[in-house]
Symmetry: C2
Subunit: 208 residues, 2 copies
Amino acid sequence: MCPHALIPYKPKNPKTRLSAILSQEEREKFAFAMLEDVVSAAKDAMCTPVIVGTELFDSEMVQVTVTDADLNQSLNEILPTTEQNILIIMADLPLADEASIRRVTSTTKDMAIVPGRGGGTNAIYIRDPKKFHVDYYGASFSKHMKIAQDAGLSVEVIDSFRLHTDIDEDDDFVELLIHGTGKSRAYLEELGFHLETETGRVRVARKR
Amino acid sequence: MCPHALIPYKPKNPKTRLSAILSQEEREKFAFAMLEDVVSAAKDAMCTPVIVGTELFDSEMVQVTVTDADLNQSLNEILPTTEQNILIIMADLPLADEASIRRVTSTTKDMAIVPGRGGGTNAIYIRDPKKFHVDYYGASFSKHMKIAQDAGLSVEVIDSFRLHTDIDEDDDFVELLIHGTGKSRAYLEELGFHLETETGRVRVARKR
């Protein structure tokens, strides 16, 4: 019952909302470090990671290339051909760990969904992928709940801040520096990012 | 084994970081609605809520007044006199529900801690309150983990986005409007707040 974990990944010019504080090269290295953290957690949780991207990159990880850049179209071409249970998990969840992923894949419902920050969807586990299709971007959590309902699929919403916390902006670095233990946290520290506590709030700062 | 749930609460001029978008009266009503949501969830989880504040307010809820405004001093005067297990939970967690609180109070460790956003601590469950003291503000999650370690107490960190999501800023309203089901969500909607989806992100807006 080890599901494949599909991990959409964009190696070139990722995480553009971090452009103000990271160069393109730094963003690419950081995104790859986060991917490695997610892959590591997925393996710990007995999933088989498969990277879904628009181009191959230099890595020993199992990769699938898709001809179209659109995430929804790519995944919706894969799902109907998939015979076994599947996990779709985003590559920007460096706080993912074995326990949180196991909570997702051990649901007793037809599906499990993990909401991301701001209405997104960070992970979907589907027992029978033929019955579901994805609709990412915007308020995708609500859309996915609706798609599941329309398909008659029971859904468990997984209450995990580790899988809820996608890293999109520098404010999110605070969570990674506090709770992260993997390569992406180490890379941020290598770049000089650290926590500063002042007047009751923890902020992130960068040494140059 | 029903623990008391201590809920620190400030009825006058709360949530000042919302001052730009809510009047003082609105902030007071909103803070009270969030408190009601937390109280309701605590009761669902078989806890006995006790509001800890610097002044009594008009309510049938069980209240304890403390002479000093400092949260740490107030709680640290209560803990050594407490004979049974106790939950300390913040009043600004309107996504709290029965399941998430039960995960906290059913820990098999000496304590359970729920990290809040930005390094804070949103809930602490202590089996033997005499052995622990609190140190809120700033990076309190790290401080509480250290205090527990120094006291030789085993700790479970509860991975819950519902209890992780404290509502401090208007950006946080997005989570409340998506995942909330209680009085504080209803009050925000009454004030005209609603979700707007544009270019891939969900934002909050207010009708006037």
